[in-house]
């Protein structure tokens, strides 16, 4: 899968958040997207998947030569796009097992999913994610701890095997052990048939998921791209360094001051 984002602009409630994002990503590649709070990282992931609260005001998103901006969320998902939510939703009444089986049936075709084999695979992946087997019977995310919800997102990833996954701050709120398990899940998927965009604030998850490309977002744009050295520079110098390095004016700060 090839994803090409061209000059993407988007607003939330008339506030511009994305101000011309350009990005190219392919299966076989792991991309990291870093940036300060409010720089537009989550908005970008929501817009790629088609969240209805965001209005695209310009630009294009191409997936394998097809502009996906007019597609519904489920149509994008069926192309093989996946998103691990920053705040996974609880769905009472739907068990983890039944939810994943139905999702797999839709993704791979009903005739491809045999219950016995599905359960075997699900149990294997849960073990891999160090999840209690009883989660199969629990309602999706209901009463799960923060860490359990994030593991659940990665379990979905492992079962659905998307072509390209966006992980929206999957690492936030995780202790180091849970972080390693999440990273292990992503690394298990790694290969020529899988790509990911890992959105994060922190370096530490990137120590476990080594990205092929690193992008830094600032004020709704990708201001620079590179490799691991960018992560190190950020960690050492903070986002102020990005601002100075790339000559970005503190417009948001001035704006907020002016409006007071």
């Amino acid at each position: 899968m090839q994803i090409t984002i061209k000059d993407l602009r988007a607003t939330v409630e008339d506030t511009p958040i994305l101000n011309g994002v350009n990005l190219e990503m392919n299966t076989g590649e792991i991309h990291a997207l870093m940036g300060p709070n409010g720089s537009g990282k989550s908005t970008l992931s929501n817009v790629i998947l088609g969240h209805p609260s965001y209005e695209v005001t310009g630009g294009e998103i191409w997936v394998d030569g097809e502009n996906i901006l007019d597609m519904e969320v489920h149509e994008r998902a069926r192309l093989g796009l996946f998103m691990a939510f920053q705040y996974p939703v609880e769905i009472a009444g739907v068990t983890v097992g039944r939810f994943l089986k139905r999702a797999c049936e839709i993704r791979f075709g009903e005739e491809q999913i045999k219950t016995k084999e599905f359960i075997r695979q699900l149990r294997e992946m849960m073990e891999f994610m160090e999840m209690d087997q009883q989660f199969v019977n629990r309602y999706l995310n209901e009463g799960f701890s923060g860490g359990e919800k994030k593991r659940m997102e990665i379990l979905q990833l492992l079962m659905l095997k998307p072509a390209f996954a966006i992980l929206d701050e999957t690492d936030s709120g995780l202790d180091i052990d849970a972080l390693k398990v999440v990273a292990r899940g992503v690394n298990k998927m790694r290969g020529s048939e899988f790509g990911a965009l890992v959105i994060t604030h922190y370096q530490r998850i990137l120590d476990h998921i080594e990205p092929d490309f690193v992008h830094i977002m600032y004020q709704g744009r990708v201001v620079t791209s590179g490799g691991q050295e960018l992560v190190d520079a950020l960690e050492a110098n903070g986002y102020d360094w990005v601002r100075k390095q790339y000559g970005i004016e503190e417009e948001t700060h001035e704006q907020s001051t002016a409006s007071r």
Binding site: T95, G97, R98, K101, T115, K116, I119, Q134, V136, N137
Partner: protein, 101 residues
């Protein structure tokens, strides 16, 4: 060549409990299968006493065992002990019907 117990179970798994829409082996209705020379004896139960499907299921059991395995004599005994419970279902059956696994 003697027909094995597992071949009998394979044949029996074509009998569907119409109430649950699932085969009687996975539902756990087959308590005993004893193939012997050219005859086979099966003990089966139903999910609840007074189930009106007793005869249908009994006939289906006889039919598939005749057809699939070639036994000349099939004896299918309806038994009530032990009473059937959800625990007798296979994991797949419980999962499909929304029970915990």
């Amino acid at each position: 060549m003697a027909v094995t117990k597992s071949e009998c179970l394979d044949a029996l798994s074509e009998v569907i409990d119409p109430e649950l829409g699932m085969n009687i082996v996975d539902v756990g209705l087959i308590y005993r299968v004893k193939p012997e020379d050219d005859r086979v004896e099966v003990d089966f139960t139903l999910t609840s006493p007074g189930c009106p499907l007793a005869e249908t299921i009994q006939n289906d059991i006889k039919r598939v065992l005749h057809e699939k395995t070639g036994f000349s004599e099939v004896q299918a005994n309806l038994v009530w002990n032990p009473p059937w419970s959800i625990d007798f279902m296979s994991e797949e059956a419980r999962f499909e019907l929304g029970y915990p696994i």
